[in-house]
Amino acid sequence: MKKNFTFFLIPCLFIVLMLPLKTFAGFPIGKYRNVVVPTFSYYHQKDRFDDKDNVIKGTPGTGFTSYAANLYVGYGLSRRLDFIATIPYLYQQNTIAPGNTLVDAGLGDMTAGFSYNLINFNYVRFFSIGVSGIIPLYKSVNGVSPLGLGSYGTEVKLMFCGSLPKDIAEKGYFNTEFAYRKYYSSQGPDQISLTTSVGYPVTKHNQVSLDILLYRSFSSNKAYNSNIFAAHDYSFFKPQLNFGHTFTRKFSLFVGGFYVPFGVNTGVGYGGSMLAVIKL
């Protein structure tokens, strides 16, 4: 008869261990549910890293600035399979010489594909794979400041995420993504990236998170391009600190700032982003 009583202790646990706020990462979205994440981000660079990782001061009055609005949409087709799509809109100013600013704006590279949860570890951690196609939504890369590489591509991503181990923290979550991107053009590029995020709730409605991004792009085209959307061969390390607030079960808001402390053949960038997580 004693076993009867254990029954009523276990259900008490199941809400406490709910999935974290940032469910649009490697976490399965859930069958029939939607996640919409609009993001607004700002990026600016003046100086650059050369191919030896040395900082080269930019010419006074030059620089590259980008304002981006990104719309991420995810829909749970089944318990394991999600459809995901991202559509960016870019506005960028590339000041190549004092008084000579190239401006371009429009839709950038859309990514659309599927994410499949390969293994769930006791519904606490999830290992998933994502496969997406990259489709340029602009007509030409010959504009004054191209909005992307102008090539179709494919991305394959492995994601591991979930609650932090209890011996590290009682609360909090992590998300790690390893991605390989290939563009189908003679100069590529091929890109690999690794993103690690750790989030920790500081109160019931507030959390802080740290994202670390390592990015490497390989190409036969070694030329430096101050426009990061059109550059081919470069690498960088970018940490970003975020603060998130949950207003309701359906609506959360994150703001964050980042800096590129080191890189190769790329800009010494900094900026910030604001994103909303809307769960429908």
């Binding site: 008869m1 029954f7 809400i15 261990l17 318990r79 019931k204 390592l214 079960r249």
Partner: protein, 441 residues
């Protein structure tokens, strides 16, 4: 460039290592010889078209040679022997041996399998259960001809009792995040029953987790539910509803068992309906009456099923190891136990103290209360969890009940090494299942 390459490689290997760690299971080994068994199919459910396989590891923790045998005996869940085989063991000191044992294809049903190790310094038996085609298990319904009339009449009698709800906010138990109310109402036969309503303060309208109790179990305010209003009802004789019926676990299930009209569970089942009446009449407390799910384990599992069967206001049903399911087959299975366990331990004891109270007389009452007879009336989505080693609620009986449920939107979860309980994973899945069904973000 090198620095970033090294960092990428380092983080990638960290990811790979953490994945490997997450996949590892914690094991604790004690004793001189350790026998580990794992069904080839993780949930120990096989098809009748496939052989049943178990992966075995025998580890000799001693320094001496161990020579003997490992036998494995398969019986039906009523104890009839269907297969016996053995393999020789010859284990050097500190050595281990991995084996795959194969049992020929079996017909639909649940089977007990005992792994017996006989070595000079060690004798042990590991008992397991596996299932074959459980969704094909069929059982006979012993539904009295006037079953529907009986329960219609019961509901009419309940309706004549004015509920006289009393809802009292308990500030001493409330927190900034949850308001706790003690709830009181009059139910069948005018008995007072009580429960706890916990309303999150972080919103204006919530779906409801309506929980009904296990066998003479006290339900208390459930403070762990952030996205649901939690309503925990103590039916008559349970928890804080013991004003009139206050009796221990040894006799609760046999109160008035010789009279179907006065049997304890008539009032208990109606208490669960009265709890629903309460929820429907208190939408002002933030209750979303279109999203009520009823849940329970053991006796609570059966109460939840009966509630969903008798009242379509229940939108989802989740139950674990439902007690009393398929009571006729349950009796036959319990007869094969070396030692009697609940619930037949109580029924048999009553029989021994009341000569003349035959099984026929028992069923003349209990057939009105067997949860299996209510199963065809359940139309809402259902999730059920069972433990394969459960002797209180044998898996065959739970599956027989499950297979009688009319709803086609139903799922079950099988926990191979659990007795009268399910595990943490089940509740994690149940949580996701509820969110999926109610479209909760």
């Amino acid at each position: 460039m090198k620095r970033i390459s090294y960092l990428l490689a380092f983080l990638f290997f960290t990811l790979a290592s953490s994945l490997r760690l997450a996949a590892q299971e914690a094991t604790e080994e004690t004793g001189d010889v350790v026998l580990k068994t794992a069904p080839q199919n993780k949930n120990a459910i096989f098809k009748s078209t496939e052989e049943v396989r178990y992966k075995i590891q025998v580890s000799n923790k001693t320094n001496s040679l161990q020579r003997g045998k490992l036998s494995y005996l398969v019986t039906t869940d009523e104890g009839k022997r269907v297969f016996l085989d053995s393999v020789k063991l010859n284990l050097k000191g500190k050595a281990s041996k991995d084996l795959v044992l194969t049992i020929p294809k079996k017909a639909t049903g649940f089977y007990r399998i005992n792994f017996m190790v006989n070595l000079p310094d060690y004798d042990d038996t590991v008992r397991r259960v596996f299932g074959v085609n459980p969704e094909q298990i069929r059982s006979q319904l012993h539904k009295p001809a006037d079953f529907d009339t009986f329960w219609k009449k019961s509901r009419e009698l309940l309706a004549k009792v004015a509920p006289d709800y009393r809802v009292l906010e308990r500030k001493d138990l409330s927190t900034p995040d949850k308001k706790v109310y003690s709830v009181e109402m009059h139910s069948y036969d005018n008995l007072i029953i009580r429960g706890w309503l916990v309303v999150p303060t972080d919103g204006s309208k919530f779906p409801v987790h309506y929980r009904v109790p296990g066998y003479v179990v006290t339900l208390k305010p459930n403070m762990d539910n952030d996205d649901f209003i939690a309503f925990d009802l103590n039916v008559r004789g349970n928890g804080n509803s013991q004003d009139v019926i206050n009796i221990g676990t040894d006799n609760y299930s046999v109160i008035n068992i010789e009279n179907k009209d006065k049997y304890i569970y008539r009032g208990v089942y109606m208490d669960c309906i009265r709890g629903l009446d309460f929820l429907y009449s208190h939408a002002n407390l933030g209750i979303d009456t279109s999203k009520i799910f009823v849940e329970g384990g053991s006796q609570g599992g059966s109460l939840a099923l009966v509630t969903a069967a008798l009242d379509k206001r229940v939108k989802l049903l989740t139950m674990q190891v439902p007690l009393y399911a398929d009571i006729h087959d349950g009796q036959a299975i319990s007869a094969s136990y070396n030692q009697q366990v609940f619930p037949f331990k109580v029924f048999r004891k009553y029989q021994s103290l009341h000569p003349g109270f035959s099984w026929d007389k028992f069923y003349a009452t209990f057939d009105y209360y067997d949860p299996q007879n209510f199963a065809p009336m359940v139309k809402c989505p259902v999730l059920m969890g069972i433990g394969l080693l459960d002797q209180f609620c044998p898996p065959r009986c739970s599956m027989a009940l499950y297979n009688h449920i009319s709803s086609t939107n139903k799922e079950y979860v099988c926990v191979p090494n659990s007795t009268h309980e399910v595990n943490f994973d089940y509740f994690m899945f149940q949580n996701l299942w509820l969110r999926e069904k109610f479209r909760i973000p």
